[in-house]
Symmetry: C2
DNA sequence: GTCTATGCAAACTGTTTGCAATTTA
DNA sequence: TAAATTGCAAACAGTTTGCATAGAC
């Protein structure tokens, strides 16, 4: 399992690097590390967290400016999504092509992804009704997650 | 019309000030000005913009820190909504109780409000499915507005 | 060898905080 | 008069930028 994931990452990375070369730019190990972290992470990571994880996992230090520049680059290439949950920090995730939205727990901050076809359909209708050319949407639902509900009734 | 709006604002303001007193806090002209701007503004304003509008309309200078503190206060009182469209600036609007979402033009930045019952229903279902206690949701649809579509085909 | 990407530190932006002065109840 | 609010400036956090150096093609 490990191996097959590693393999699919290798293919993904090779493909990405080819695309970079095609547009006349250069690759770097730093970007490789960042992509690897994003690829194998389930979470939505901040620039800081990405940098820390690279330190932990590969014992390599990457300047925070490099992370930001890489994220902008990936975002322009539609390779990563940016998620702003309104706490002043931007989080990043690999764009796995299937659109999804986010449930955010206002107590512990956990972010749960969900997909909903009705929402996808609805946004098209709303955009049409307002004569917008649709690009994308962000839907974030805020509430209290199961865990936090339980720990609030701890004393029972 | 002007007058009846002025009147309804006066009632709104008097009511607010009473509530402030009830919880043992003090009122100030600064908060009055801010509320008046919010009340008569259709737009979603940043702290900076609120401060500028007060300068323009009433020729009064209010420290930016005061605006931020007031907005936090209003937000805690559920009087104001915060809108973060992901450009690093928080926008504020008076909470007129009917929930609505936002269409944002990525070209000119105009923000159009819309309401959609299906979305309201949907979020309840999604929260339930994930065992969340629902608090609120934010949905922002990004696209190109009618105006910007036209001006792109200017040359014809 | 040329041109891009990196790392560092400084700059910047929006927001928050400490504190003395002012205003409110 | 006691307590809360303001205004200023400094602090702060996250992000961006300029520039010299290292690295990729």
């Amino acid at each position: 399992m490990e191996d097959s994931q590693e393999l699919s990452f290798d293919i993904f990375l090779k493909n990405f690097k080819n695309n970079v070369l095609k547009i006349g730019l250069k690759n770097s190990i730093q970007k490789d590390y960042i992509l690897k972290i994003l690829y194998f992470s389930e979470e939505h990571l901040t620039a800081e967290e990405i940098s820390n994880k690279i330190k932990q996992n590969f014992n390599v230090s990457i300047g925070i400016a490099t992370v930001y520049r890489a994220m902008k680059f990936f975002h322009d290439m539609k390779l990563v999504n940016q998620l702003d949950i309104g706490d002043g920090v931007i989080r990043y995730e690999l764009n796995r092509l299937k659109h999804h939205d986010h449930l955010i727990c206002t107590s512990c901050g956990i972010i749960i992804e969900f997909t909903d076809d009705l929402i996808e359909l609805n946004q098209i209708k709303i955009a049409e009704k307002n004569n917008f050319i649709l690009k994308e949407h962000i839907m974030s639902i805020y509430g209290i997650c199961e865990n936090c509900q339980d720990s609030n009734s701890l004393k029972k």
